[in-house]
């Protein structure tokens, strides 16, 4: 069962948009939360599927998660944290404020928002919290470790949140996408065999949500790839350029 309404935090992202369509197609009421006004996307969903859909403003780094949920006017049945920021590693290394923005957008903000969600969702039948982390969180690499370490923290956070609420029936799912062809990766050359489309990721998430899975990789073939990457001894790993 999927509990409605489904709140999508970061709904202007390609993955968020695909998720909104997927949930609406299943008949779920959806609430789209984004930094910009995306009322047009809510209208689109309602026209496509006949479900109720609305848009609300949301900034994951605003430090006001309780005020956000108070203003929502409903307790969500499902919350999906999609917001995140890849940033630029070189810039993060050089400029403190840039590093902080990446950390806040991928760990501090998402974790605080999901704590605030969990405080309200205890007792919601079928309640589910889904966090989109990343394979980048499995091992720090020179090319993106500020982002990766924040995702690593978020992955650990989700695992703890799942543990804390498992007995009370609030389910928590961790999603670790590999490469996805989205605005975040626009302009990058991605290897087609391990790159997913946003729609594929959304379908996989909704399927796993129904099956109440704990941790998923999208595409699934990233699981063995990451197992190998984790197994490389640090003395070797530090000399690689990945």
């Amino acid at each position: 069962m999927i509990a409605s309404p489904v709140l999508i935090l970061g709904a202007r992202s390609d993955i968020g948009k695909a998720l909104a369509r997927g949930y609406a197609a299943q008949g779920c009421e959806v609430i789209l939360a984004a930094r910009n006004d995306i009322a047009a996307d809510a209208t689109d969903l309602a026209l496509r599927t006949g479900v109720q859909a609305r848009a609300v403003l949301f900034d994951v780094t605003d430090g006001e998660p309780d005020r956000f949920f108070e203003g929502l006017g409903a307790i969500p049945g499902t919350v999906v944290m999609v917001a995140g920021l890849l940033g630029d590693q070189a810039e993060s290394a050089a400029v403190d404020a840039a590093a902080q923005q990446v950390m806040d957008s991928n760990y501090n903000g998402p974790a605080r928002y999901l704590l605030a969600a969990a405080r309200r969702m205890a007792g919601v039948p079928g309640g589910c919290i889904i966090g989109i982390s990343s394979v980048a969180g499995e091992r720090g690499r020179a090319s993106n470790f500020v982002y990766g370490s924040a995702k690593a923290g978020f992955t650990a956070f989700l695992s703890g949140l799942r543990n804390a609420h498992a007995r009370a029936g609030l389910h928590v799912m961790t999603v670790k996408p590999g490469f996805v062809r989205t605005q975040m990766t626009a302009g990058l050359k991605l290897p087609p065999a391990v790159t997913a489309e946003p729609g594929q990721v959304a379908d996989a998430i909704i399927r796993a949500h129904r099956a109440r899975r704990d941790v998923i990789y999208t595409l699934g073939r990233w699981r063995p790839i990451m197992a190998i990457i984790r197994a490389i001894p640090e003395s070797v790993f530090k000399k690689l350029s990945l």
């Binding site: 202007r12 390609d14 047009a40 996307d41 209208t43 689109d44 026209l47 496509r48 599927t49 605005q183 626009a186 302009g187 990058l188 050359k189």
Partner: protein, 445 residues
């Protein structure tokens, strides 16, 4: 916004070129992206066959502008962004009793692509082309202007954009009317014709059918030349359905898409196989009446995703021409003879009667007969197509740009009297300096 570079082609996979691709997510983002780009071209879902949606310097993928904006239940008027897929519209509205007035033979096209090619369907003889059902479109001219174009406002740009192959700017939004249907079923009648004359006679007496199309055996020769199976159809009214289907007349049976796993090797398409396939196909079309579900009726090939890989790595070209009514029989005879003699045929060749021409300056349809065939892109076939061009020109016909990958500029001009006006308008609005594709460069559009 940052582009990425990706090898792109049309549906025929010929030609393939590395293109810098931008993917704006909103009309505003598109608006901000265009001005500094120099020349660019819009790309929808890449279902045109040749090079119409390719520009190596700047190709704009419109598929993220895919929002439905408004729908009026009383009139059927739908407003949407241009990147919306026809398949999404069908999935959303067929269950509510609405269908598009005109559909091409695949649902995997965008509304922008349908407008830019002014597509026609199997109902062209009675219903006209898609743009004749268009109420208006919003055009981003790339110079800061976004103009509403319709028969009332900016009518010249409207006529140039309908069938204009993306060369008048980016279509960002459009409004058109959907058509009410009672069921998701088609009543189909199959008629066999032993030769071309018989096939044309069937078309001429079948104008009352909403849809008509013929599969023609393009390798049949001599007395059998033009042997075909003609499929006539109407939307089935709810009371024509049996009790089970009548309970849910708008329900569509699910279809499992299958994929062609790998590029088939070249020999899969030997003339022996094609001949066998054509004979088999002809034999399979049993004359008589049948009730057919909407999706397999309109989109038989969509059940096989990536079917274009059947033609292997080198790709294929589709050749579609139309001949004026008075010249149709003589011209078709010459075309079919040339194709059968060359012996390198197409799995499926399609013949269709067209109705009145559209207002679009470069729209393809004209009253007469249109013939469409696929050919593997080999040197021999490309030479054959040059010979077919000459026959089409002799009989006052024209070639469909959205299928084309190889026509020459002089041949094009012979078939399109609106071309001079089209070029004039492009120059007048500075559009020739802002929009171009490999097709427009090749054909000097």
């Amino acid at each position: 916004m940052m582009p990425h570079v990706e090898p792109l082609s049309g549906w025929g996979r010929y030609p393939v070129r590395d293109c810098a691709v931008w993917q704006p997510v909103t009309a505003e983002a598109l608006h901000a992206t265009l001005p500094p780009l120099g020349r660019s071209i819009a790309r929808g879902n890449g279902r045109s066959y040749g090079d119409a949606s390719l520009n190596p310097e700047a190709t704009i993928d419109m598929r993220r502008l895919d929002r439905l904006i408004a729908f009026d239940d009383a009139s059927g008027e739908l407003v949407c962004e241009a990147g919306v897929l026809l398949s999404d519209i069908i999935d959303a509205f067929v269950p509510r009793g609405w269908f598009v007035p005109v559909t091409p033979g695949t649902r995997m096209v965008t509304i922008g692509g349908m407008i830019a090619s002014d597509v026609h369907g199997k109902n062209h003889h009675g219903t006209g082309s898609f743009c004749e059902h268009l109420l208006w479109l919003d055009l981003d001219l790339g110079d800061g202007r976004v103009l509403r174009c319709s028969h009332q406002e900016n009518a010249d740009l409207f006529a140039a954009s309908c069938g204009g192959m993306g060369l008048t700017g980016m279509i960002v939004r459009a409004a058109f009317r959907l058509m009410p249907i009672e069921s998701a079923w088609m009543r189909q009648q199959t008629v066999r014709a032993r030769d071309l004359g018989e096939a044309m006679a069937v078309f001429e007496r079948s104008h009352a059918w909403t849809y008509s199309v013929a599969w023609i055996d393009c390798l049949a020769r001599g007395r059998d030349l033009g042997r075909s199976a003609i499929l006539l159809a109407d939307h089935a009214p709810a009371d024509a359905l049996d009790a089970t289907r009548r309970a849910e007349p708008l329900a569509r049976p699910p279809r499992q898409p299958r994929a062609v796993p790998v590029d088939l090797p070249g020999f899969a398409l030997s003339s022996f196989n094609v001949r066998a396939f054509n004979q088999l196909y002809y034999a399979m079309q049993r004359p008589g009446e049948a009730l057919v579900a909407l999706d397999p009726y309109f989109y038989p090939l969509d059940a096989l995703t990536d079917w274009n890989r059947i033609y292997g790595r080198r790709g294929f070209v589709q050749y579609q021409c139309v001949l004026p009514l008075a010249e149709s029989e003589r011209g078709l005879r010459r075309l079919l003879e040339a194709i059968a003699t060359a012996g390198s045929g197409s799995f499926l060749a399609v013949l269709k009667r067209m109705g009145p021409a559209s207002f679009g300056l470069l729209s393809f349809p004209m009253p007469g007969y249109t013939l469409a065939l696929d050919f593997p892109a080999t040197p021999a076939n490309l030479a054959l197509l040059d010979r077919l061009d000459a026959i089409v020109a002799d009989h006052g016909g024209r070639i469909y740009l959205t299928k084309d990958a190889r026509l020459s500029a002089p041949m094009l001009a012979l078939g399109y009297p609106g071309l001079a006006r089209f070029r004039e308008l492009r120059a007048q609005h500075g559009l020739d300096r802002r929009f171009s594709s490999l097709l427009s460069q090749r054909l000097e559009l």
